[in-house]
């Protein structure tokens, strides 16, 4: 195998492995939105507060997934 295709192979495998981290973000978002929807169903009057806190929590959980995304993007497009 020539060096160029070895590099491409390594990049592809590495970027794919890096995206495993997105699973954690997905779980976190699912849990927080699920909890928020339950809370809103039980207590509709407090929907604005719950929604704000939910968006905040989702943003934090999503940030972790996006770090994984950034790592894999760097592997794909910046590494030489």
């Amino acid at each position: 195998m020539d060096p160029q295709s070895t590099i491409v192979l390594g990049k592809a495998i590495g970027a794919g492995l890096a995206m495993i981290g997105a699973a954690g973000g997905g779980i976190g978002i699912g849990l927080s939105v699920g909890g928020a929807v339950q809370a809103m169903g039980r207590n509709p009057d407090h929907t604005p507060t719950i929604q704000t806190n939910m968006i905040l929590g989702v943003a934090f959980a999503e940030a972790v997934a996006i770090y994984a995304l950034v790592v894999s993007l760097i592997i794909l497009f910046v590494l030489n």
Binding site: P48, T52, I55, I66, L69, V70, L73, I74, L76, F77
Partner: protein, 465 residues
Amino acid sequence: MNSFWNGKRRYVALLLFLAGVYVALEVPPVIPFIQLPGENLPAGYNVPFTDIRITNTLVAAVIVWILLLLFLLYVARRRPKDGSEVPPGGFYNMFEALFEGLMGFIGGIAGGAHFRLIFNMFMTIFLIVLLSNWMSLVPGIDTVGFIHPHVKEKYDAEKDEYKLVTTDGYEIYQGFLGISYVNGQCDWISPADEAAADAAALANAESARLAALDELAVKAAYARYQAAHNGHGDDAHEEDAGDDHAEEAVESDEAIAAYDDVLAAREAEKLARRDRGCYTGVAVPPWQEGYEPYDKSKAKDISLHPDPSSEEAKLVPWVVLPFVRVASTDLNMTLTIAIISVVMTQYIGFKALGIGYLTKFFNFGTLFKSPLGGIDVAVGLLELIGDFAKILSFSFRLLGAMFAGAILLFVMSFLVPILPWPFFILEFFVGAIQALVFALLTAIFMNLATISHHHDDEHDHADAH
């Protein structure tokens, strides 16, 4: 204007769709060569009177500032000075609804003494990030640009000189109205690779010929073996030697056919490429004899693209260098806004709590009073680290979401020319949500900074007020 765009004019959408189909068939979409940092515009597009090159993301950022200034100038003009009602409808009302809604939203989160300052920061960040995110939906942005030779400068430490190295890219062709297009059907192949492929074909042909000859020789040897076995003795042995010489000298027809087959396959490959409108490189590539080494003083001429219709155009791979690339796909822009956000958070903290704000980070007050005082110190230091982590988290969140969205749009447009409009709707929402999250987190952190850390410590409050 309103009467023109009522339901009866729906055929306009159909015409646009058909035009899109025509363009997609005439000029097939090309998957761009994706680059994370903002691309420099070609030489000659410097910041005036300096050598600093302008990136295409900076162009987008300037467009966002100008648009925002124009919008707000218009809104400020339309705003009634005497506080009277403005007739509903129009662009002004959209802004009024946006400001009122978000003012109520932020008022619920950070409606304290510092509401005005926090809301100003929130709205500024929100509008700037929102506009630059939504720029990725505008046709022509990220796709229309300079046709640019895709060459890299590489430093050669042994010879102490820079040289240009060609990388991947496409061939170009002149299309409609003399506009140059990148030809997505034709990956650029360097002349050296082309020559290497030719040499490999020759070598393959030679080995195919030798293999055919070997096969013949084996057959002949088997025939001789059978003849010898039948008991002709010395005669057969002498004939063997003579036959060997004859086989080396005389080409058999089969061997020549095998040789020609391999070369013909290579020729057919080349012809198929040429039938698709691709040409193959002919000139001296950078790594071969006869190539002029990179001369720094000539840098301007080289990076200024040669005429795409000229013969020199075949020497290099070409890519599109967009005039405008979405500003939030560049780390410089997101990092700048993140630093502004975090620095302003500290400013508001000091403004609200005075020097006592520092006890949030260096909390030695309870170290000897309470048995768990050491934990407070550790928590304070964690807060300090957390504030630096905020810069990273802010900038990478926006960069990651918007850059991934841009790549999503590229790839989808490349796979299916007309149909990726659902992804544009997705990007519309992602852009809005990321802008809201960025600005909302800023507002929340600012609000947290204004709240005193010691709820039970009364004299700290007294100091602050």
